[in-house]
């Protein structure tokens, strides 16, 4: 794995997260080191309680690490205050949620444009951009629909569009298909993979499902707060081809 090593978009060094529960300490993350490179689709896989969600939260700046460094797009996350983190997310990060988390008062188009609203973009420009991104995720017919008028798959596609619209350096996805049936899951995963490839985005996905993880370029297996294995599906592919 040397030729695809471009620029490291995410660099995690010796990361610890220790929760205090009563008198005992729980080590959610126990010394994690890895890098994620530009244009990669990575999956973090583990059972519940393995620390995978904690890791994602810290990468997105939603939680503070107890110890260690997180460098995203050249900036240290652990030293930022909440305001700086919000600003950083606004400019560099897209987020896809398990339960979609669209705002019920807004239609699909407005939901997608929401992060642009936070950037202070004017209404016309941001709606035009949201419109383009919705076309990209095949939701041409549902632009004016409110979340409760759409199926789960459609809602998650709006969610994907919302993450893409700011053209972020990294997209984080937290169990993006957790609330979808397997067929729809497959659809959404394929969509995500395609769009990420086309847009040359970097995607970090957290899941407990090994099958879903197999869509990724690299798979980080995490257990008890430690990365136990990093699989590279591309190399496997190469090997298969070679054989």
């Amino acid at each position: 794995m040397s030729e695809e090593k471009g620029k490291a978009v995410i660099r995690v060094k010796d990361l610890y997260k220790i929760y205090r529960v009563g008198d005992s300490k729980v080590r959610a993350l126990n010394g994690v080191d890895f890098s994620i490179y530009k244009g990669e689709f990575c999956a973090i896989v583990g059972t519940s309680g393995s620390g995978k969600s904690t890791l994602l939260n810290m990468l997105a700046g939603l939680e503070k690490p107890t110890k260690g460094e997180i460098i995203i797009a050249g900036e240290h996350m652990e030293t930022k205050n909440e305001n700086q983190l919000v600003k950083f997310r606004r400019e560099h990060i897209g987020f896809i949620f398990q339960s979609f988390n669209l705002l019920g008062t807004m239609n699909a188009l407005e939901n997608v444009a929401l992060p642009l609203t936070f950037q202070g973009m004017d209404r016309e420009t941001r709606l035009a951009r949201a419109d383009k991104v919705l076309n990209l995720v095949n939701l041409k017919k549902h632009k004016k629909h409110k979340p409760n008028q759409m199926s789960g798959g459609q809602q998650q596609r709006v969610g994907v569009a919302r993450a893409l619209v700011v053209n972020p350096e990294i997209i984080f996805a937290d169990e993006p298909t957790g609330n979808l049936d397997s067929n729809t899951s497959e659809e959404v995963m394929n969509l995500m993979k395609r769009v990420v490839r086309e847009q040359k985005q970097t995607l970090v996905m957290v899941t407990h499902d090994n099958h879903l993880a197999s869509f990724a370029d690299r798979i980080f297996h995490i257990k008890d707060g430690k990365i136990i294995k990093i699989e590279d599906t591309r190399e496997e592919l190469k090997e298969q081809v070679n054989q």
Binding site: V86, R90, F97, N101, L103, F118, D122, R162
Partner: protein, 452 residues
């Protein structure tokens, strides 16, 4: 975030929860209306008082007297009221009308009727016409009339008494049978000589010659002030005339003698100049009266106006207003608490939404602004509706008071009060929303990605 987007989001949030918004707004409506109506009562009282003062006395009038109180010099001519001073005062800013006033006591006679207490006030015709004296008949003394003309106050007639018995108006209640307008009234200017001749017992003359009764002059009447013998007004008791004609007349009457009321030299000789008894000053606006008064005092003269009394009255009404407003403020406080409660509820409900917004990169300040604006909106809508309600209540109060037979406008809401009330309502709303909005700002974004 742009302001317009904040505006759009917060108003749509309120719209989404119509019922709750309406109920909260209702609290503000009642709060605003109670404060405004209470204050309007105080303002109405104040306004009625001012109107009353305007009717008898005028608020913009300043009377200037020579100030003897701090005069250490023997020669008091320096502090006398001269034409020069009249001119100086005329040059003070905001002075609208200025006129010298010459006050003199004369005796009026018509047949057997006599009025020994006629107070004649000479002023410039300019000032007289600007004083807006309401007339029953005739005109105010006109400029260049050529002769001395009197304008009688409506109660002057009461002072005529029948010297051949029959008693005065005060004893009998009968108004003397004189038509001031058309009957010829004779005036005696030299009252001292009049009294001397009247009670002459032969001894008052120093060298044996009998006292010659003073000459009486026929003075035309140019008008009579409106009102019956019992209607007291500020012009009721005096006789007004053109000061230039009066001076001419007095010089003619007294020749080289001192005119009564005028200062004399130590040897009893009159000064060459004629000094005025007071100076009438009218200021263009009530607000400037105090300033003008101060400037005149600084010149070294005494200046009187109704202002001090009015100010103390206004202070009293101010207390009344504060007490009434305080009562109204209690309901506003209740409204503020209900706004805070509504915002709190709203934030609990929208924990997830706020979290999502934070994850998506909404600035913390914007989140706070969003909730502050919602609270402010409640205040704004409530304030405006409250003002409408206040005008309705005010109209009802005034209608009821009118039915009870008073002319007074008890409740009065000026425009500034409406504006202030709306501004206050917005402020109260935002103050009530402040802590909830802080809470919203501090909510953890993790709440959003918790899957429940």
């Amino acid at each position: 975030m742009r302001f317009i987007d904040l505006w759009r989001m917060s108003s749509s949030n309120l719209w989404k929860r119509k019922m709750r918004t309406i109920l909260t707004v209702l609290g503000v409506v009642i709060g605003t209306a109670s404060i405004v109506v209470m204050i309007s009562l105080g303002l109405g009282l104040n306004k009625s008082m001012m109107k009353e003062i305007e009717e008898n006395g005028g608020l913009t009038t300043i009377t200037v007297y020579p100030d003897y109180s701090n005069d250490t010099q023997d020669d008091n001519t320096e502090r006398q009221l001269t034409d020069e001073l009249v001119e100086t005062i005329g040059e003070i800013e905001h002075v609208d009308v200025v006129s010298p006033v010459l006050n003199i006591n004369v005796v009026g006679r018509y047949g057997s009727y006599e009025n020994t207490y006629m107070n004649v006030i000479g002023m410039t015709t300019d000032a007289l016409s600007k004083m807006d004296i309401e007339l029953k008949e005739g005109t105010v003394p006109q400029k260049d009339a050529g002769t001395l003309q009197f304008l009688y106050g409506n109660q002057v007639i009461n002072e005529f008494y029948n010297s051949k018995g029959g008693g005065s108006y005060w004893e009998t209640g009968e108004v003397p049978d004189i038509d001031l307008m058309n009957d010829t009234i004779f005036i005696v200017f030299d009252t001292e000589a009049y009294w001397n001749s009247k009670y002459d017992d032969g001894m008052s003359s120093e060298n044996g010659t009998p006292v010659v009764p003073p000459k009486k002059y026929l003075v035309d009447t140019c008008g009579v002030v409106a009102g019956g013998p019992e209607d007291y007004g500020q012009y009721s008791w005096n006789v007004y005339c053109d000061i230039d004609e009066l001076i001419k007349q007095l010089k003619k009457v007294f020749k080289n003698k001192a005119i009564p009321g005028q200062p004399t030299t130590t040897s009893g000789k009159p000064y060459k100049e004629l000094y005025y008894s007071s100076i009438y000053v009218n200021v263009d606006n009530i607000d400037n009266v105090s300033d003008v008064q101060k400037s005149i005092v600084e010149l070294g003269y005494q200046a009187d106006s109704n202002m001090e009394w009015v100010q103390s009255q206004q202070r009293q009404f101010g207390y009344i207003q504060a007490v009434l407003g305080g009562i109204g403020a209690v309901s506003m406080l209740v409204a503020a608490i209900s706004i805070a409660n509504t915002m709190m509820m709203s934030i609990y409900e929208r924990t997830k939404e706020i979290g999502i917004m934070k994850v998506l990169g909404c600035d913390l300040r914007n989140i706070q602004a969003l909730f502050l604006m919602e609270a402010g909106f409640i205040g704004l809508i409530g304030g405006m509706a409250g003002i409408v309600l206040s005008y309705c209540i005010s109209a009802i109060i005034n209608a009821v008071v009118k039915q009870m037979g008073t002319q007074m406008q008890l409740s009065f809401i000026p425009i500034w009060l409406s504006g202030l009330a709306i501004g206050f309502a917005v402020l109260v709303g935002m103050a009530a929303g402040f802590f909830p909005s802080l809470r919203a700002m501090r909510l953890s974004p993790l709440a959003a990605i918790r899957n429940d």
